[in-house]
């Protein structure tokens, strides 16, 4: 982890609610792994006070990109920042998908995501593409308005299978309905999306690997405060793990959805 004052090279709106922010960051593709995040101090005042975490959307040799929606005061301010402005960033933070699992070209790999969860999967896809490892992408959204960066996905040699709840693009329905035709017990699933999607994956999905990215209300993002806990199964009961340092990528089968109030927390 480093503290880097990154210069904004692009901060453009895409779709009606989202922004793609690109920062200058030397050696980003070497420093950051898919699934990791950066923690940004937005503004230099006490409001907002805490940093805001963002998954890495893509990383190149000299730049890093994040995809975000305006959901509160911090992201509202972020959306007004201009090229050339600097952002106080901490990163890389957290673990990555490939800390848990080493893919090989013969593996059947499925990337499945929903909403802005699709963002962190894009860097996964970028990373696999550079290693000539094939993968299938399943992405679910509420409507066409939320479907982003299809052109960028296609540059990775893949056409995502898309579902929308209102049927405005792709197949009408939820993305988990597309899993059965693509899934085998030897599949390796990398997931990121809303908690109901992850809970559904856990309940009916059987695969060799299911790794999922979780979000939380971070206090620090660096393991200092124990604010971002997630209940996980242990051999002799259960325990809380910290999403920011023990995650954000977890073996989905260890996460306790039932009996916790995990699903009542929005990201």
């Amino acid at each position: 982890m480093n503290n880097h004052y990154a210069t904004i090279s692009e901060n453009r709106q895409i779709g009606s609610r989202y922004y793609l922010l690109t920062l200058s960051w030397r050696n980003a593709s070497t420093l950051f792994f898919p699934g990791q995040f950066i923690n940004i101090k937005i503004g230099n005042t006490t409001a907002p006070l805490l940093r805001r975490p963002f998954s890495i959307f893509s990383a190149e040799r000299e730049t890093l990109s994040i995809l975000y929606a305006v959901v509160g005061k911090g992201t509202e301010i972020l959306s007004t920042m201009k090229n050339g402005d600097k952002l106080d960033c901490l990163g890389p933070l957290g673990n990555g998908y490939f800390d848990h699992y080493t893919p090989s070209p013969s593996d059947s790999i499925i990337l499945i995501g929903g909403g802005t969860g699709a963002a962190s999967l894009f860097y996964c896809a970028q990373w696999l593409y550079t290693k000539h490892i094939h993968f299938t992408v399943l992405l679910g959204f509420r409507s066409q308005d939320d479907v982003l960066c299809l052109d960028l996905w296609k540059q990775l040699g893949t056409t995502p299978i898309i579902t929308t709840e209102d049927g405005s693009i792709g197949t009408r329905g939820v993305i988990t309905e597309q899993l059965s035709t693509n899934l085998s017990p030897q599949s390796h699933i990398l997931a990121c999306g809303p908690l109901p999607l992850l809970a559904a994956l856990q309940s009916f999905c059987s695969a060799a690997t299911i790794l999922a990215s979780f979000e939380g209300s971070f206090g620090c993002g660096t393991g200092m405060c124990s604010g971002c806990i997630i209940p996980t199964q242990e051999d002799d009961g259960w325990t809380y793990k910290k999403i920011c340092v023990d995650g954000p990528i977890f073996d989905l089968n260890t996460i306790l959805f039932k009996g916790s109030n995990l699903c009542s927390q929005h990201s």
Partner: protein
């Protein structure tokens, strides 16, 4: 830089990491920054491991943070076995171990177990946590219990004893004086202020424990006022705590009468806050052409 004599403790500088904001000081990020502090106060430990409160635990407020962690900790046995040994190779910073319990007996048992460990430089009695149902703040406002606690603790350990006081009591001056009278070596104040948030959509308290602890810049003027007031009534050294994020903030507390300051929420915002504060203090001293930017005189 700015060596500080905090009662019986000698610190390389007057900046301390506040309990609950630097974990046990052992992960990669904490290990990188801990040496910048004069002392690190470990997360409060209890006799048995505690899972802590359910989500949500953190909620940002204007210039502040509400927290309801609930004293999640590994328990004293795991702390002594797994975390304390990692401090054996770190000898330039003071280690303060914070303890919490439901009863006076709990605190005494914890101190008895910590006493033999030479690496522990001081014990902080957390009698002010707002996020637990028993103990904590309930002891912190009770003069009889404070007296019992200190009398018994001082009988079983000669380690410097810091008492962390709650601002959520009506009689904090009396509590501070009681601490001085019955053997405390240092007072740290303040712990978090009791606050709450409401989930408007679901029409109920946001936190499972209803109330939570408010910290951060929003509380600084009140914490500063309390440090100033307590300074007028006791002669023990004071660790000033409450929303300090800059060198300017630290100087306010040091001038008001604190001998050292602790930073908490600042560590959450940036683990390198301590460096920024020390650099600011050094700049201040340089501008004043003084060896220290703050005198020992109290206004």
């Amino acid at each position: 830089m700015f060596p500080t004599q905090l009662g019986p403790l000698t610190l390389s500088n007057p900046i301390i990491a506040s309990s609950g904001t630097f974990s046990y000081g052992c992960n990669d990020i904490q290990a990188r920054y801990r040496s910048l502090f004069g002392a690190v106060t470990a997360k409060t430990i209890t006799l048995l491991p505690r899972k802590g409160n359910p989500l949500p635990r953190i909620h940002e407020t204007p210039s502040g943070v509400l927290n309801s962690i609930g004293l999640e900790n590994v328990g004293i046995n795991a702390f002594l076995a797994e975390y304390l040994p990692q401090w054996n190779t770190v000898d330039d910073i003071r280690l303060i171990v914070s303890v919490g319990g439901d009863t006076v007996d709990d605190y005494v048992r914890l101190c008895r177990q910590l006493h033999p460990h030479h690496r522990i430089d001081a014990i902080e009695l957390n009698i002010s946590c707002p996020n637990v149902k028993k103990g904590g703040m309930a002891i912190g406002g009770d003069l009889t219990k404070i007296q019992q606690l200190l009398t018994r603790v001082k009988q079983i350990t000669d380690k410097p004893c810091i008492v962390k006081l709650s601002p959520n009591v009506a009689n904090i001056i009396d509590c501070a004086q009681c601490c001085e009278e019955h053997g405390a070596d240092i007072i740290s104040l303040v712990n978090c202020f009791l606050g709450m948030a409401i989930d408007v959509k679901n029409r109920r308290p946001l936190f499972a424990n209803t109330f939570a602890g408010l910290s951060g810049p929003a509380i600084r003027p009140i914490a500063l006022r309390i440090v100033y007031q307590i300074r007028q009534h006791i002669s023990l050294p004071i660790i000033g705590i409450g929303g300090i994020t800059t060198a300017h903030d630290a100087m306010e507390f040091l001038i008001a009468g604190a001998t050292a300051v602790a930073i908490g929420t600042a560590n959450l915002i940036s683990p390198h806050s301590v460096r920024q504060i020390l650099e600011g203090l050094a700049l201040q001293a340089s501008n004043q052409k003084a060896s220290s930017p703050f005198g020992k005189t109290v206004i």
